[in-house]
């Protein structure tokens, strides 16, 4: 590759030639977009340079601009009149937040992360990103730079937040996949699992940020397209939440050097993978957490001394995207030869697009440059002045004195044609699974199988590799209970040491229900995230949400139809619960194509909901492990016959059709009353009732606390008539909890909960027996907590 700039011949190109240029350049631009570029340059009477067309492709990529969520969608649903949706994002996500109108939302959807209020001096920022495509090809590097990237999102929000917590959610193929069944060119799920965990561990631990929340899910459809969600929470002074750029400010790059790594990451992740993707090594970035730590150390000092006016991270699209965004309203001029390079020989467009990690761009008033440089010198961080922000409303890029790109900001940011997309949704019909009450002697083995299924089984071997105590603010660990190994519903930290004000981070994710209805899957994800918040002592009133959609190819109407269903649920359920979205992200095109067989597979439509809640006094937090014998065990919330997409049906090879419905009115009342009961100090332990239903939740509470239970399912409150014991035991109805109440609080608790269905199932016992009786009064589960715990701990032990 030479140091020269090439002209791209598009003025006279026909459609086929335009698409060839897009494909061969990994531009991921469709024909309409290529034509819009052609028209623009015809107006200018010249061809674009490679720097220019690459800049446009990055800026217009799905990854950077989220065009699917902004596009016009013609949506038709089985038996209903078609409707036109003018953008999923404004219609369902942004509108929900606007209508909920929480006064504590400081900044939503506009900066690199959402910002909410924390205390008198600080706010919190929260962002979750995905790094799926890179992690499929190079799990360690992909996942590490995923966490590195989202940390820079916090650092690039407002004038820079201090990163205080990481959260990570992974979706992998089944760990026992036979090698012969691996799709061509893909890595074994175990190798992806190991590499991703190691990548997140090494980056997060070295940065000194606790990784204290997460989830790991398994499904064969994630084999070729694993999902890696990385989130970061940051703490920022209240008077450092806004940014601006003035003409004359210097464009300063700070941090790592630029190399040929990660070029085309943005456009690569806006396309499907196939069995040749593994050869695209250069699209995966290389991480260096110590460099990033140095940047944080230097920038937070510069922030506190007010030395710069704006900041953003160099993520997808590298400098092209960072400088292009910062100067969008005024203009910018950059000189590429000033960029500090890892090695010689990069073409100008490569310097401009490189996604080399650990770089930030800041806008520095010239009078502050000396002081900034002094800080960087004392922290041994490189900082380079690349150019200036201007008032030309153009993005002008120079290389060794010659202009190599000259683009109008208006065309770059608003020239993208708004696509119209078709979406359809038709409810699937799956075989139903009958109750096994007649054939099954009891459900002890089913309960053990559920506890041992990889989605439910203990993730301790992973969690222990993450430093969750660094920064000193840990209050509720990810692992809790008498031997510190039970599954906590959420983590609680005090970001300001010495203060009792706390932050809860939780998540919800239920892709199995997407097989029945993505609406219910999204609704359940929100409900689950909120249950996890409430279960440790949080309230709906102070909770904000993040949405992360990972989907298949949205150019296919059925995949897009599923996305519409999920987005509708986001609006309906968030507004019903009064919990606003403050940030989100989407990763589409998670599909794999086998180029020899032509076989095409998509991931299950997967929505991750992350929740953040501020609590005023961490001393009111509770954990999920039972505390003492003779305490009473209650189910809170009605159970319905809802096993569609459940884990119980799953272990017997069924999907079913009745996925858990969402009843937000019931759910909201339940959660509000329970929050109050917890804050009144009546609840000794509380656990979210989700995957595996009452059976799994009760078992987890018992073995985490080290005491057995004696329960009777006759007493569970039900919303419909459920006669079958297995349905009662394993139904996954939303908005339910299991709580432990001391006998002396029984009356106060029951009176307080009068408007919410509750049922006392039995007691904690002074022993290790775990017995649940069914409708006929005979035991349907009869075992010991040791056997249950062993079933739960063994599968993912190493």
């Amino acid at each position: 590759m030479s140091n020269t700039v090439k002209e791209i011949e598009i003025l006279n190109a026909d459609d086929a030639e335009l698409m060839r240029i897009s494909r061969e350049g990994t531009l991921s631009l469709n024909l309409n977009e290529m034509k819009a570029i052609q028209t623009h340059f015809k107006g200018l009477g010249r061809n674009p340079t490679d720097v220019e067309i690459e800049t446009i492709a990055q800026t217009w990529s799905e990854h950077c601009v989220h065009k699917t969520f902004k596009s016009i969608i013609r949506y038709s649903e089985d038996g209903k009149a078609p409707e036109q949706i003018d953008g999923l994002f404004p219609t369902y996500i942004q509108r929900a937040t606007e209508e909920i109108a929480k006064p504590w939302c400081v900044s939503v959807f506009s900066d690199n992360a959402g910002i909410i209020e924390f205390d008198e001096t600080c706010n919190l920022v929260f962002k979750v990103e995905t790094h799926n495509h890179p992690s499929a090809i190079e799990p360690y590097g992909g996942a590490g730079t995923g966490i590195g990237g989202v940390i820079r999102d916090s650092l690039g929000t407002g004038l820079g937040a201090k990163p205080i917590l990481n959260t990570d959610v992974f979706c992998f193929g089944m760990p026992d996949t036979p090698y012969a069944q691996l799709p061509k060119g893909t890595l074994h799920p175990k190798r992806v699992f190991k590499g991703v965990v190691a990548g997140v561990r090494d980056y997060g631990n070295r940065m000194g940020i606790p990784t204290a929340n997460g989830a790991i899910l398994f499904d064969t459809r994630y084999t070729a397209n694993p999902l890696v969600f990385c989130g970061n929470v940051g703490l920022i002074p209240r008077n450092r939440c806004e940014k601006s750029v003035e003409p004359g400010d210097l464009v300063v790059a700070i941090g790592g050097q630029t190399g040929r790594d990660g070029i085309h990451g943005a456009t690569f992740s806006s396309a499907e993978l196939d069995d040749t993707s593994e050869s695209l090594g250069s699209v995966v970035q290389i991480g260096n957490p110590i460099m990033e730590k140095k940047i944080v150390d230097a920038l937070l000092q510069a922030r506190d001394r007010n030395l710069y006016r704006s900041i953003t991270d160099c993520g997808a699209g590298g400098f092209s995207s960072a400088v292009g965004e910062m100067g969008a309203d005024i203009g910018a001029e950059v000189h590429l030869e000033r960029v500090s390079l890892k090695y010689e020989g990069l073409a100008p467009w490569e310097i401009w697009l490189s996604e080399a990690q650990e770089r930030m761009v800041i806008a520095v008033p010239p009078e502050n440059l000396t002081e900034l440089m002094e800080i960087c010198e004392s922290e041994v961080v490189e900082a380079t002045v690349l150019g200036t922000f201007t008032d030309t409303h153009r993005l002008q890029v120079f290389y060794e004195g010659a202009i190599v790109a000259d683009l109008e900001m208006e065309f770059l940011h608003n020239g993208l044609p708004k696509p119209v997309k078709e979406a359809i949704w038709q409810p699937p019909k799956h075989p139903e699974m009958p109750s096994r009450d007649r054939e099954a002697k009891n459900y002890t083995d089913d309960l053990k199988r559920l506890l041992a299924s990889p989605n439910i089984a203990s993730k301790e071997s992973v969690i222990r590799q993450y430093d969750h105590g660094v920064q000193g603010g840990m209050v509720i660990n990810p692992l809790v209970g008498v031997t510190n190994d039970g599954p906590s519903d959420a983590c609680v930290i005090t970001p300001v040491l010495g203060s009792r004000k706390g932050v809860i981070i939780a998540n919800g994710i239920n892709p199995k229900y997407s097989d029945v209805d993505p609406y219910l899957s999204a609704a359940a994800a929100i409900d689950e995230a909120l249950r996890n918040i409430v279960a440790v002592g949080g309230t709906l009133e102070k909770t904000a949400l993040l949405d992360n959609f990972c989907w298949g190819n949205p150019d296919k109407p059925d995949r897009l139809g599923e996305l519409v269903r999920a987005a509708k649920a986001c609006y309906d359920i968030a507004t019903a619960y009064g919990t606003p979205f403050i940030s989100g992200k989407d990763s589409l095109y998670n599909e794999y194509r086998d180029t020899t067989t032509g076989e095409q597979r998509a991931i299950p439509s997967t929505l991750l909901i992350s929740a953040i809640c501020v609590i005023s006094d961490i001393r009111n937090a509770v954990t999920m492990d039972v505390k003492a014998p003779h305490n009473l065990i209650y189910v809170v919330g009605n159970t319905y016959t809802e096993l569609g997409g459940s884990h119980y049906f799953g272990i017997h090879g069924f999907i079913g059709n009745a996925a858990p419905a969402i009843r937000p009115d019931e759910g909201k009342l339940t959660m509000e009353r329970l929050s109050a009961a917890i804050n009144n100090g009546w609840v000794r332990s509380c656990h979210d009732c989700s995957e595996g239903g009452i059976g799994v939740a009760a078992a987890e509470m018992a073995f985490a606390g080290g005491y057995g239970m004696s329960l009777n399912l006759d007493n569970i409150p039900t919303g419909d008539e459920i006669t079958a014991d297995d349905y009662r035991l394993f139904s996954e109805t939303n908005s339910r909890f299991i709580v432990e109440i001391e006998p002396q609080h029984r009356d106060a608790y029951e009176t307080h909960m009068a408007e919410t269905p509750i049922g006392c199932l039995g007691t904690v016992i002074d022993g290790h027996e775990f017995v649940i009786k069914g409708k006929a009064g005979h035991p349907i589960v009869e075992t010991s907590i040791d056997a249950l715990k062993s079933a739960w701990q063994t599968p993912l032990h190493s």
Binding site: R464, Q465, D467, G472, L479, G498
Partner: protein
């Protein structure tokens, strides 16, 4: 009365500096977070401080081995200042990565004095990769030993603290281990020998050691992560969870001891 001055040393990859800073402040000290560049350049003088704290983290990424690059830098670029600091009877604490640094500088188990009277910083022990071969984050029971360590004076016989490290297996040649035992230089031991109660496979279950004077102390567990009782991983199970009379975590005593010793002997 003047407060003791604590220098909390930072460099690239240090990451437990803020909570170590909080710990010393809660204990009643004046603190300064100082990048090693500022000591090397002479902008800041070690002699202005009575306590040197080397916090946890991954100094220089723990490239080559944990703590080694910072140890080399200290040994070669701060030689005189460090020697003088120790000779003046001042206090040094290294936590986790800081312990690794102290062992690799030779400040622990202790500087030996050669025949011609010059002191030698020579590494005589090491903190090797955990026997589990991975990073481990967990709480451990520690047994406080009889030792001259000023940081653990009158501390409870058993202390509960978190560890979080990949390279924490203390190991040394038999003669060095014997010397440590003979001089009562072992300050903390993991309460039991088997994994994971001894989380890293350390020789003689060693979790922390001091030099013969008791003024230089290094340990793998993190006392700065247990400053209030709500840091305890099972505080929700403890009978006194809601009792506000004592909110102190077990880790704070170590920092208070350092402050008290300094007030009594060095100010």
């Amino acid at each position: 009365m003047t407060k003791p001055n604590v220098l909390i040393l930072r460099t690239a990859g240090t990451n437990c500096d803020a909570e170590t800073d909080t710990a010393f402040q809660l204990a009643g000290a004046e603190t300064a977070l100082v990048h090693i560049q500022n000591l090397i350049s002479g902008k800041v003088h070690l002699s202005d401080y009575q306590i040197l704290a080397i916090p946890g983290g991954f100094s220089y990424g723990d490239d080559i081995a944990a703590g080694i690059l910072l140890a080399i830098e200290m040994k070669h670029k701060l030689t005189n200042a460090l020697n003088q600091f120790v000779m003046d009877g001042k206090l040094v604490i290294g936590i986790c990565n800081g312990f690794q640094v102290l062992v690799r500088t030779g400040l622990l188990p202790g500087i030996s004095t050669s025949a011609n009277g010059t002191s030698q910083m020579t590494q005589r022990a090491t903190l090797a990769m955990n026997t589990s071969a991975k990073f481990e984050c967990r709480w451990v029971d520690l047994e406080t030993q009889q030792s001259p360590c000023v940081f653990t004076k009158d501390i409870k016989p058993s202390v509960y603290l978190p560890v979080a490290h990949a390279e924490g297996r203390f190991t040394a040649p038999a003669d060095v281990l014997a010397e440590l035992e003979a001089n009562n230089q072992v300050v903390f031991r993991y309460a039991e020998s088997e994994y994971p109660k001894n989380p890293n496979g350390s020789d003689a279950d060693i979790a922390g050691i001091c030099d013969t004077t008791g003024r230089i102390f290094g340990l793998m567990p993190h006392p700065e992560r247990f400053l209030t009782k709500w840091n305890h991983p099972r505080w929700t199970r403890l009978a006194d969870a809601q009792d506000t009379a004592s909110e102190e975590g077990e880790g704070l005593a170590i920092f208070k001891n350092a402050v008290n010793y300094t007030k009594a002997n060095l100010l």
